[in-house]
């Protein structure tokens, strides 16, 4: 059964401009491993925008659009390098309350547009 779904679109140049003009925002939104690629380079703005969209999509799937602790929902690479959700703390609590057992995530970006879409599924 599907508990909730979420989609989020982010305009990459707008998002990048907000990151650049807001001191500390990138650290507040993203954990260190989210900001860095597997081979140790800083992640591109488009890739960060897609990851921010993933966090927003998770919040929508849980019906909790406000006040999420951003680091409690991380996008990490699985063993094959695919983006995956690591849910902890307050977000995990909310998901568990709602019976979420499995998260599905897909990210995409091209041109100015980054999109994430998630499905939260129960057991």
């Amino acid at each position: 059964m599907i508990v909730g779904i979420g989609i989020d679109v982010v305009n990459v140049p707008r998002f990048a401009a907000t990151l650049h003009r807001t001191p500390g925002l990138i650290e507040r939104l993203f954990s260190l491993r989210e900001r860095t690629t597997e081979d140790g380079r800083p992640r591109t703005e488009a890739s960060l925008a897609a990851r921010f969209a993933a966090k927003e999509a998770v919040a929508k799937a849980l019906g909790a659009p406000h006040g999420m602790t951003w680091h409690h929902c991380e996008v990490v690479g699985d063993s094959a390098g695919r983006p995956w959700l690591k849910i902890t703390g307050s977000v995990l609590e909310l998901a568990t309350e709602q019976g979420v057992v499995t998260w599905h995530l897909s990210l995409t970006h091209d041109g100015d547009v980054a999109i994430a879409y998630v499905i939260a599924e129960s057991g």
Copy 2:
């Protein structure tokens, strides 16, 4: 089980231009409560575009891209203010025929892009 899925993207400036140059279109597409926010203000063009995308996405999920009565598929706020689908009349009939019990909806807009995505699930 998933009966059908639908996604729709709307270019907000083009949609807004169509609304402005077509007398009566906004009333034909949207019910009064769809055109108005919870606090009584007219809904923004981006928000209307996302709601139009939701109607198109529902039509796609039902395999019925043409001739939908737009007011038979409304996007309304649930008690927590989340956008929700209210399906009635001809759209409800078609959904019931196909065994749809639950609708999942998510909306998003940023920059010029509004997107809706839906999943129709059976019992």
Copy 3:
């Protein structure tokens, strides 16, 4: 149960430019019936971009972003003209290994943006 999901966004003008400057690319990406509409005309660039996005979304849903044989994942019209996935060869093998029984597909384009989204479901 959901086996995997995928979303892909394609910037239509960029995709069209790549098609135009790369000899043989359109034939490598798309089968003859994909490149032609039901009434025998060449498919538009936006429609091809959405179909390319569908192939990428299928690859993501299967966790196999690289090296797909593009013709093993075709977007064809069903009897009602709806876009549908025809999976064969190497892509079918991978899907079968993962227990995929049903594919759900939705396509959309407006302005410069084309998007496909898929869900791979088990029995």
